[in-house]
């Protein structure tokens, strides 16, 4: 049963951000991440936050997806906030109960750090929601090309990532099938303590691994039959073209970051 899963959260669209060369998106992302971590105070951080919210809006990405993307890190954000509020001392005392205090610096740092994390995730999501996993891999491959001189197999790793992405939905379907097949033989894949849960996973993990190995072997043979060999220089169907817009955007990002960090 095929499911319409969009891998890596990519949502198709035709906005400027969607159309940007993925390499410039990645470079800009790195620049902004640098800026987010070096900006000293709230005003600078707010500049970044407002900018990314505007960009997310103009990229027409579904706000539901954005909120869903925030969910995994909310625990960390919350923990960070709580830890700073209760344990970072300094400045005016805001609340006291016996020996225990909450002080201004703690609240300030807690909120600042939490906002920083959230802004960071927003920027990352802006890129992953507007770029296909394949384009991202290609951009990474291009940017990591210099590593080839260190004998690191960058192109081969890119092919590996592409194959992994391609098989995620297939393997998910297969694991679902295996789980059902074992449940049909009376396996209990729900309850019990941690140890029992782990043991119960064996009838699912072993077949999945066996199948993965078999797939890998068959796939490798098929790739060889289509003249693939590691180490060759491969050309590409896709060709990222960096336009003037891309250069301008990267330049603007750098300027903005420098401005925000130093002026505020």
């Amino acid at each position: 049963m095929s499911q319409g899963i969009t891998i890596g959260q990519y949502m198709p669209g035709n906005t400027i951000v969607h159309r940007m060369d993925p390499r410039s998106k990645l470079i800009s992302l790195l620049v902004f991440i640098g800026g987010i971590f070096t900006v000293p105070g709230f005003p600078g951080l707010m500049v970044f936050l407002v900018l990314v919210l505007l960009l997310l809006f103009f990229s027409r990405v579904s706000y539901r997806q954005v909120l869903r993307g925030l969910r995994p890190i909310m625990v960390i954000v919350f923990l960070t906030l709580v830890l700073h509020v209760f344990f970072t001392k300094g400045g005016v005392v805001l609340w006291r109960m016996g020996q225990f205090t909450i002080e201004y610096d703690g609240v300030h740092l807690g909120v600042f750090t939490a906002l920083r994390l959230i802004t960071l995730v927003f920027y990352t999501m802006l890129v992953t929601l507007t770029t296909t996993p394949l384009d991202l891999t290609g951009a990474l491959e291009y940017l990591l090309k210099p590593l080839k001189y260190l004998r690191i197999p960058v192109s081969e790793m890119a092919v590996i990532v592409m194959i992994a992405l391609r098989f995620i939905p297939t393997l998910m379907e297969e694991s679902s099938r295996i789980v059902k097949a074992q449940m049909a033989r009376g396996a209990d894949l729900g309850g019990g303590n941690l140890f029992r849960k782990a043991r119960a996973l064996v009838p699912v993990m072993v077949p999945l691994f066996v199948s993965a190995f078999r797939r890998a072997e068959e796939l490798a043979t098929a790739m060889e039959a289509r003249c693939y060999r590691p180490g060759i220089r491969r050309t590409s169907l896709r060709q990222s073209r960096a336009t003037l817009t891309d250069y301008l955007i990267v330049a603007a990002s750098c300027l903005l970051v420098v401005g925000a960090v130093f002026i505020t």
């Binding site: 049963m1 049909a184 033989r185 009376g186 009838p203 077949p207 066996v210």
Partner: protein, 289 residues
């Protein structure tokens, strides 16, 4: 009534843009000991339907009852049900995980909580039922067997739970003609000698014709035809439109009927069909007489 399906509906991913109505109101019933065949092209919903029969999927509408009790009414333990209604998936050897044939076959009865001595007995009996030699094979790795043996082992791994019914999803997929014949022989023997209720999905009509009580045809989530093989396969034009294969003798008769020969439908086997053709078609010599 052993198994009843009433207006069963199933929707995958309801409420999302990827919603798929896999079953649109399917109803049928199966008596104990019957041998039922189900045919349908890709997307007809047959695999989804099978997974409802032992509670692996929950209906979006309608219900499934076994021995009169609804599967999701709270009065049935699904885990127990699955030992009574055994299911063999397509390419069942892909679920092998154990180190030995014995362990693989013992998985089902162990999950039933049976004592060791009883499990051994079940394993021996199950392997015997699929013509695998217990002593020779019990310590071998399931992954080292031949294709046909693996398929039979997968069947034994379900039989060891001593189910009352067997649901089989395209059991002969990927087997060569000899392997296919062997496996079908075992299934047919289980039906004949043990009285197992059998529900088998296949796209090869020749696997159903001699043994089956009834055939159901599924198309786009609905059950469109049902009846004894002779009735079902006489509706050749509809079957063709639904992408269902005809048995070769029926195919021959239907082609000749299409070209204007007045042959009666409903003949299924090679003998019946050839007799019909020989009597109704005039050969050149006969014309000269």
């Amino acid at each position: 009534m052993f198994l009843e399906v009433n207006n069963l509906q199933h929707t995958y991913m309801p409420g999302t843009p990827f919603e798929v109505h896999s079953l649109k109101g399917v109803s049928f019933s199966v008596k104990r000991g019957e041998f039922i065949g189900i045919m349908g092209s890709t997307g007809s919903g047959k695999s989804t339907l099978l997974q409802h029969l032992n509670g692996l999927l929950k209906p979006s509408g309608g219900e499934v009852r076994v021995d009169g009790k609804p599967l999701f009414g709270g009065s049935i333990s699904l885990k127990k049900l699955r030992t009574r209604v055994g299911m063999v998936f397509q390419y069942p050897e892909h679920q092998f995980f154990a180190e030995t044939v014995y362990q693989e076959t013992a998985f089902g009865p162990s999950n039933q909580g049976l004592p060791h001595a009883q499990v051994v007995g079940r394993v021996k009996e199950a392997l015997h039922q699929v013509s695998l030699d217990y002593e020779q094979i019990k310590d071998r790795s399931p992954f080292q067997l031949s294709g046909g043996q693996m398929r039979r082992l997968a069947l034994a791994a379900v039989l060891s739970m001593e189910p009352e019914a067997l649901i089989l999803d395209e059991p002969t997929s990927g087997l060569d003609p000899r392997g296919r014949e062997e496996l079908l022989g075992h299934i047919e023997k289980l039906h004949r000698e043990q009285g197992l209720t059998i529900i088998m999905v296949t796209h090869r009509p020749s696997e159903l014709v001699p043994h089956v009580n009834r055939i159901y045809i599924m198309h786009r989530g609905k059950m469109t035809l049902c009846g004894i093989p002779a009735e079902v396969f006489s509706r050749s034009r509809e079957l063709k439109e639904m992408g269902i294969e005809l048995p070769a003798p029926v195919h021959l008769v239907e082609e000749l009927r299409r070209r204007g020969y007045n042959l009666s439908p409903g003949k299924l086997t090679t003998e019946e069909v050839c007799k019909e053709i020989a009597t109704k078609v005039t050969t050149p010599e006969e014309e000269c007489e």
